[in-house]
């Protein structure tokens, strides 16, 4: 029916956002594979501390892409509902309270036009979907909203917030006799130095080795 009503730029943007969300999930999976490889690494593959750092770096990359996928998905859901003009007006009224700060335009460079997956956003999106009186629209949005309100998602975001903005919890296996903040700090400095030595060693090995595959350089 309303295929002609949909803004062409909007449809292109939406398709791009869907593809981007999928790619981010694939990147998260790639990082998960790297974590598994580090878990399988043996003593001769490198010092324990370097393996642990490598594994943690990949685990955090996985977290980054999972969170990116969640945010992308909520924006895909919002943009999907925006295809219908009455729902777009409802979304703008709900999220921006009628102010001009957001218009949900395709390819918008405005920060406020892109939403975060959080409890407030999910509740508002659910409300707009219910206003549509369309079971198809509710069915589309509900799994995304339920996930955004779930403990799984919110614990992940909370952990990321703590790691990035406050105090980064220690890696499992790194806790032990180093009690207190000073001990943790010293241990981290030692980890950093050890990792640096490991990377330098790998770089030197690469430079010396004529059998190192070129695609790894």
């Amino acid at each position: 029916m309303a295929a002609q009503e949909a803004d062409e730029g909007f449809a292109y943007a939406l398709a791009g956002q869907m593809a981007s969300a999928g790619e981010q999930l694939a990147l998260a999976y790639a990082a998960a594979v790297e974590v598994a490889i580090w878990q399988e690494a043996r003593e001769e593959d490198g010092p324990e501390v370097a393996r642990e750092m490598g594994m943690r770096a990949m685990a955090e990359a996985q977290t980054l892409f999972v969170i990116g996928t969640g945010h992308a998905l909520i924006n895909v859901a919002v943009r999907s509902l925006s295809l219908r003009q009455d729902l777009k007006a409802q979304l703008i009224a709900t999220f921006f309270r009628g102010s001009s700060e957001g218009a949900l335009d395709p390819f918008s460079p405005g920060r406020s036009d892109w939403l975060s997956m959080n409890k407030a956003t999910c509740r508002k999106l659910r409300k707009v979907a219910q206003v549509s009186n369309s079971q198809e629209i509710i069915d589309l949005v509900e799994p995304v909203v339920t996930y955004g309100l779930s403990q799984t998602w919110n614990q992940l975001v909370e952990r990321r917030g703590e790691d990035c903005h406050r105090w980064r919890a220690q890696t499992h296996g790194m806790q032990g006799s180093h009690a207190g903040r000073r001990g943790i700090m010293m241990r981290r400095v030692a980890l950093w130095a050890s990792g640096l030595r490991f990377m330098r060693k790998r770089r030197d090995m690469r430079q010396r080795s004529d059998v190192w595959p070129t695609w790894q350089c």
């Binding site: 029916m1 309303a2 295929a3 002609q4 009503e5 949909a6 449809a11 939406l14 398709a15 869907m18 969300a21 999928g22 999930l25 998260a28 999976y29 998960a32 996985q62 999972v66 996928t69 969640g70 998905l73 895909v76 859901a77 999907s80 509902l81 295809l83 219908r84 729902l87 549509s132 369309s134 198809e136 629209i137 069915d139 589309l140 799994p143 995304v144 339920t146 996930y147 779930s150 799984t152």
Partner: protein, 36 residues
């Protein structure tokens, strides 16, 4: 991550029916793609 993958799958499964209601683009999976 697997839970999120499942959410994405649900979303894209519901998309064709919702797209008709929303007036969005209609995607058709070709027979060739299905065979792959």
């Amino acid at each position: 991550m697997l839970e999120l993958a499942s959410v994405m799958e649900s979303f894209y499964t519901a998309w064709p029916a919702a797209s008709n209601v929303l007036g969005g683009p209609r995607y058709q999976v070709s027979q060739e793609t299905q065979d792959e």
